[in-house]
């Protein structure tokens, strides 16, 4: 038994806010305090240290075809950031699109113990799982992308029964070994292939004649009915378009009270005021989130520097390609399932638009009052690489630091933003909510993100440093399932991490029309798309953790 003595514990799932007490760990689990005669094998004194659960990133692009395209596209990204092999760790490279190994090590070195890939195309699921299997240290899971696939749009267009749609969504989750469902630019990726360059929430798809609103509603209903813990994960229409805040608000309303998660909402909070017709609508968006308890969001914060944007939203990525820096890009279709766009991008602090994007993200963080419903992400690598999280945490926790950075950005953007008037500083407790307890709850991970009895012993110990960036960049200890994996911000023990999936109940009868469809139109047989439990276990994850879904009757 391992005892962590006298740590200052932040465990928001149990309302523990900086209470000093001991933690006991046995067989990879947090256990209750044993009697006085229990044998303690190892004692670590953590007086003055901050103790939290392992951090969970619920939206980070760490696997799937688009990352490999980004890697192939950006040799300079690799060349400029080589990581030599050491102590049982693989060599690797890459700043914005790091290799799988490097991704896992760097996440663990910041105290992250679970990461979720939000855009797995069902047809590409095998690749995604292989890549996630090669990402060591952290637990993984993926969200299957639906909403622009031909089969679904055909069903919707023909007015198929919601129960049939539920079965298809259930089958997709099951066959692709996914954790949740994501929709990207609902119907828009498909519309792009019919030469549409935008598709508004209530605009009919040029071919199927269904609207993004219908897509969102059908999928949100399906996810809810199947009992998947994580709400429909929505990358809304009109990403990055000035004035898209109206679409975003309408999308929230379109859920009609069903749970909905809006991802990288920073990119969806733009207005058209001012000389440059680009302004912040963070206040309206944040107010809506505060008002609607069925809505959660992650921010997708922009931080300055070179990165690469990877997205299934080929429509918007095509629109962005002229901003590519360096000047090269890829936009492609993937088996009529969805699309893929990779555009390298450099966010510049002296650029009006980029600077305002930065401020809008921070405004959203500070204006949404409930940290249980807003998550810390940069939409890695789209807003910034995940390695910038400690910097972001400092921006949230330290107003003086934030204001000093505000002085450095494009002056016009700084003047337009209300960021300076926001005095809120996140507390450690709130950081623990938004990076641990809340994502665990949102994903239905009952034994992660907290430090109660029976929880998986994913534990991070930080030195309490006034410089929060330094503090969160280099945890003193990180434990994964009870094993010490990181010491002083360096990996000391390489582990593999598990794969989380959901196992919804659905009617297997859906396989009959699906099989017919695959035989007729697709390049792969339906049986070969499906990934079995046995197969997914050979992809590299240490084990498969299935989550039962309690289906809700329609």
């Amino acid at each position: 038994m391992l005892r962590l003595k006298n740590g200052r514990i932040y465990d928001p799932a149990h309302g523990v806010d900086g209470e000093v007490r001991d933690l006991y760990i046995e067989d990879g689990r947090v256990v209750a305090a044993p009697g006085p005669d229990a044998r303690i094998d190892r004692d670590i004194n953590l007086a003055g240290r901050v103790v939290m659960g392992g951090a969970i990133d619920l939206h980070t692009h760490i696997g799937g075809g688009k990352l490999n395209i980004a890697r192939a596209l950006l040799p300079e990204d690799h060349r400029q950031d080589p990581v030599p092999t050491s102590g049982g760790m693989h060599a690797g490279c890459g700043h914005a699109a790091p290799s799988t190994w490097t991704t896992g090590y760097r996440y663990a070195e910041m105290g992250y113990t679970a990461c979720f890939e939000p855009a797995m195309q069902p047809i590409n699921a095998r690749h995604t799982h292989l890549e996630m299997g090669d990402t060591p240290m952290v637990d993984k899971g993926a969200y299957a992308m639906l909403g622009s696939d031909d089969f679904f749009l055909r069903m919707l267009a023909s007015g198929a029964d919601q129960r049939l749609i539920n079965d298809y969504v259930g089958w997709t989750l099951d066959a692709s070994q996914a954790m949740a469902i994501k929709v990207v630019n609902p119907g828009g990726i498909s519309a792009f292939k019919f030469n549409a360059r935008s598709l508004n929430l209530d605009e009919a798809h040029p071919y199927y004649r269904v609207t993004p609103r219908q897509v969102v509603q059908a999928l949100a209903r399906a996810v809810h009915d199947l009992g998947v813990a994580h709400p429909l994960h929505v990358h809304a229409s009109n990403l990055g378009v000035p004035g898209n805040a109206d679409t975003t608000l309408a999308t929230m309303a379109a859920a009609e009270g069903l749970p909905i998660h809006l991802t990288h909402i920073q990119f969806h909070s733009y207005g058209t005021e001012g000389e440059r017709k680009f302004s912040s609508e963070a206040e309206r968006i944040a107010d809506a989130i505060n008002r609607m308890s069925n809505v959660s969001a992650d921010v997708g914060q922009v931080l300055f520097g070179q990165t690469v944007t990877v997205s299934g939203d080929s429509m918007k990525q095509y629109g962005n390609h002229r901003h590519a820096s360096p000047d090269k890009w890829v936009v492609m279709d993937i088996e009529c399932d969805a699309g893929c766009g990779v555009v390298p991008f450099k966010y510049r602090d002296k650029n009006f638009v980029n600077a305002l994007q930065w401020a809008i993200g921070l405004e959203l963080f500070l204006r949404v009052s409930d940290p249980w419903r807003i998550f810390l992400t940069t939409d890695h690598p789209n807003g910034a690489p995940f390695t910038s999280y400690p910097h972001l945490i400092r921006l949230l926790m330290d107003k003086r630091f934030r204001d000093s950075k505000l002085d450095e950005i494009n002056a016009e953007a700084a003047a337009h933003s209300q960021l300076r008037s926001l005095d809120r500083e996140y507390s450690l407790y709130e950081i623990a909510i938004m990076t641990r307890a809340a994502p665990a709850r949102s994903l239905g991970l009952t034994d992660r993100g907290h430090l109660g009895q029976g929880a998986a012993a994913d534990i991070v110990v930080y030195r309490d440093d006034a410089d929060r960036e330094a503090m969160f960049a280099k945890p003193e200890y990180v434990f994964k399932d009870g094993q010490l994996i990181v010491r002083d911000g360096k990996v000391v023990n390489v582990v593999n991490g598990a794969l989380h999936v959901v196992k919804p109940e659905y009617d297997k009868g859906i396989e009959k029309p699906l099989k017919d469809y695959f035989d007729r139109y697709m390049t792969v047989r339906m049986e070969n798309v499906r990934i079995s439990d046995d197969e997914v276990c050979t992809c590299g994850a240490s084990k498969l953790i299935p989550h039962v879904c309690k289906g809700r009757a329609t």
């Binding site: 192939a72 060349r79 030599p84 050491s86 060599a91």
Partner: protein, 266 residues
């Protein structure tokens, strides 16, 4: 400045990135011995591989009888380096200034992505001399490379600017996809010279076995710039080019715009 003498043949390839005049200047021998390099991907100290001597000159000398030292002079900006022995792969990769003088052969990928400075190779060079860094779309973009011996295939592939002078022979596809710049091979070359050449000049001292079909024989021409080139080249490789300004000119590659040329001097 400093002399590094390789103690024994290393049991893997050594990445010498960072061992440059600009990083070693004014440092003690002990301090230099602690500089980190990588052997087969794992870090170790320079002093584990080399004898380090510091002297009064302003030259960095690397004594080696192994061709396993890669990335010599990589990213170098200034100063003088002499390699007494063979260089491994990627010598002068991304070099921006200064002079790297290799008294021996060089491996593959020398002067990849070079943008300035002078690289001299007294022996032979491998494939892809002056070509693009792996994954890049343009090759060498400045500076001068002078080779006494022969070079391998794909000499100057996608070269963008600068001057490469070769006294010996080149392998196949020399000057392939050349974008601009000047490539001189006195000893002739293998098949497919200038394949995919866009602009720039590929100057051959001997007529190759065949000129690709997508080049157009434009007859005998008198080009005064050959006189200038002759004078310029004398300072790097004396006697490389004849004083004559006459050449047989082949315009091409016509499949790629045809704005470049192969000049045969003989």
């Amino acid at each position: 400045m400093t002399t590094l003498s390789l103690r024994a043949v290393p049991n893997g390839r050594v990445d010498m990135t960072g061992v440059l005049p600009e990083t070693l200047a004014e440092r003690s021998a002990d301090d230099i011995a602690k500089q980190i390099v990588h052997l087969a991907g794992s870090p170790l100290m320079l002093g584990d591989l080399f004898e380090v001597d510091v002297d009064e000159t302003d030259m960095l000398v690397i004594r080696t009888d192994s061709d396993r030292l890669d990335c010599l002079g990589k990213g170098m900006n200034t100063g003088n380096v002499r390699i007494e022995g063979p260089a491994g792969h990627y010598a002068a990769q991304g070099m921006r200034g200064g002079e790297l003088d290799i008294h021996g052969d060089a491996g593959d990928g020398a002067a990849n992505g070079m943008t300035g400075g002078l690289l001299r190779i007294r022996g032979n060079a491998g494939d892809w001399l002056g070509a693009a860094l792996i994954g890049d779309r343009t090759g060498m973009a400045g500076g001068v490379v002078a080779v006494e011996g022969n070079v391998g295939d794909r000499l100057g592939d996608r070269m963008r600017r600068g001057l490469i002078l070769v006294r010996g022979q080149a392998g196949d596809a020399c000057g392939a996809r050349l974008l601009a710049g000047t490539l001189v091979v006195a000893g002739g070359c293998g098949t497919l010279p200038g394949a995919g050449l866009r602009r720039g000049s590929l100057i051959l001292g001997r007529r190759p076995e065949s000129i690709p079909l997508s080049f157009n024989d434009s007859g005998r021409v008198d080009l005064s710039y050959l006189g200038l080139l002759h004078r310029h080249a004398e300072s790097f490789l004396p006697g490389l080019l004849p004083a004559s300004t006459q050449a047989q000119r082949y315009m091409g590659d016509l499949a790629f715009g045809g704005k470049g040329e192969i000049l045969v001097l003989a």
